[in-house]
Amino acid sequence: MATVVFENVTKRFGGLRALDGLSVTVREGTILGLLGPNGAGKSTMLKLMAGLYRPDQGRVTIDGEEPSPKTKAKVAYLPEIDYLYGWMTVQQILDYVSAFYKDWDPARSKELLDFMGLNPTARVRQLSKGMRARLKIVVAMSRSAPLILLDEPLSGIDPPSRSRVLQAIVSEFREDSQTVVMSTHDVVESENLFADVLFLKAGKVALMGDAEQLRAERGKSIRDLFEEVYA
């Protein structure tokens, strides 16, 4: 399991502050929904945790350590972009990726592949967008990584694929050993998945809390709160 702490983190791109003095603690064993419109800083937060960016100011730590090759072994990161080689088959992708990680679970990978209805011999290039998104989730969830980072796993894919992706996250998530952080601007379908939600606005925390508690206290769905925060 992993606890992630952002302490007063600022990340700039040119003149733009993608994150602006952000302080957040992600508790272990949660599924945190990272919510906000495009440009709010969601992907930047995930990339800082994945160790792909360094903060300009402040500190990001995973179990007390700054992201490094050492922490990367603990982190499974699903990027938003299509990063899988098109010329490989589905099976080749899994063989290729599995070689990088000690915590790769071949049995789970096989099970997920079946669940997703992916054909192991199909070429990635020939897969539909929804099928490619399913494959990305298989890649991310086949590891027993303590920290799983999912950047817009539902974005721009067909409804059946979205449903499958959500089911795979729920069924593979191990609440006693894993922490999941997932960004999305599609709150309607995913809000039931989240134990905690973090609304980001212009690189700052607009609202953060336990999803069930927010519903109970405010009598509103996370989607309604989303509309309130970004109105």
Partner: protein, 138 residues
């Protein structure tokens, strides 16, 4: 199990209510095995911790019993089951009376209308056998 979540109230409470409803309606019977927490979470795409909380509360309320290694079962305690049915009926009644009252109907009028509607809705179907065993008694 189908779950229509309205998301304005805590989800664990809605899960509990759905089980209570199914028990009250006789869709779930005493001693029936219910899905494991993980099965339900996957089925309805809800956070496993939320489902865990619902199951824990149901256990505390005496709605379910968990047998080690065998799963979770609806209680066979007739008193508890009768209470659940009564509770669900009470809620339906409160909603109905509030709505009718807001529409301007008085008590006697309401009772008379209920009789009439009963004939239309249940009376006709009852002849053709709406409830095969006629008794979903708990």
């Amino acid at each position: 199990m189908q779950l229509k979540l309205d998301q304005h109230a805590p989800i664990y409470m809605q899960i509990i209510d759905e089980f209570k409803r199914q028990i009250a309606r006789g869709d779930l019977r005493p001693g029936d095995r219910i899905p494991s927490q993980r099965e339900l979470a996957t089925m309805v795409q809800v956070n496993p911790n939320t489902v865990q909380r619902a199951y824990r509360e149901m256990e505390l309320m005496g709605i379910t019993e968990t047998l080690r290694g065998q799963g979770t079962f609806i209680t066979s305690d007739p008193v508890r089951l009768a209470e659940i049915r009564r509770e669900m009926a009470g809620r339906a009644l409160v909603g109905f009376v509030r709505e009718m009252h807001a529409l301007g109907y008085g008590c006697e009028e309401m009772v008379a209308m209920v009789r009439g509607t009963w004939e239309q809705v249940v009376g006709a179907a009852g002849a053709g056998g709406g409830e095969p065993d006629g008794n979903r008694g708990v």
